[in-house]
């Protein structure tokens, strides 16, 4: 089975611009998570979807971040407008309900200049 995929792998944007990250979870995984790792620090939770519903969005930094998962399949994370501190690697993970393991994608490295 195909793993979690993320697009793009890298994105370099100017401060104030908008960027949209996409995540395709493993087929059949109802749970989808977004995480972020900033500059060698810990991987931090952003939010959790169960199908198309937001189960937990306590980690979203502010209202410049908008996540969607229309139809309960792929998810997008939009940052608008981007700030310098948004730079980092954004990971998406998915899991099957009833299972502990979260499967991670390769990440999107976002650089805001």
């Amino acid at each position: 089975e195909a793993g979690v995929t993320q697009f793009p792998s890298h994105s370099v944007i100017e401060k104030g611009q908008t960027v949209t990250l996409r995540c395709d979870p493993i087929s059949g995984h109802d749970n989808l998570y977004w995480y972020r790792r900033v500059m060698g620090k810990e991987i931090k939770f952003l939010l959790h979807f169960v199908k198309e519903s937001k189960q937990d969005e306590s980690g979203m930094p502010n209202n410049r971040f908008l996540a969607e998962r229309t139809g309960g399949t792929y998810s997008t994370l939009k940052v608008q407008p981007a700030e310098l501190e948004d730079s980092g690697v954004y990971f998406c993970a998915s899991s099957r309900t009833g299972k502990d393991t979260q499967y991670f994608g390769p990440g999107t490295r976002l650089t805001v200049l």
Partner: protein, 112 residues
């Protein structure tokens, strides 16, 4: 406030040696403790995991030691190989299907 503290930040071990990475936590509600391994350009991948009712779990050369009273757990890599060179993250979770709290990662370099 970081929920899971991981050390060391980096580690150099000779081939054949033992690599030890430590993590500590405060939240006694944590009920699942996975270790993830990440190679450059790849996402973190589950290596081994433990629940707090067990003090040790071994899978091949990888062992988790868990000390519930001290609120600490560690990853031991026996007979470390250059192919083990990667970044390792410990994590913890409260309840099923919930978010993971990760440590800050340990970059392991195994010298041939």
């Amino acid at each position: 406030q970081q929920q899971v503290k991981q050390s060391p930040q980096s580690l150099i071990v000779q081939k054949g040696g033992i690599s030890i990475i430590n993590c500590a936590y405060e939240n006694t509600a944590f009920d699942y403790f996975p270790w993830y391994q990440q190679f450059p350009g790849k996402g973190p991948a589950l290596l081994i995991a433990i629940r707090p009712d067990v003090s040790e779990k071994k899978e091949g050369r990888f062992t988790i030691s868990f000390n519930k009273s001290a609120k600490q757990f560690s990853l031991h890599i026996m007979d470390s190989q250059p192919g083990d060179s990667a970044t390792y993250f410990c994590a913890a979770r409260v309840g099923n299907f919930n978010k993971f709290y990760f440590g800050s990662g340990t970059k392991l370099n195994v010298k041939p």
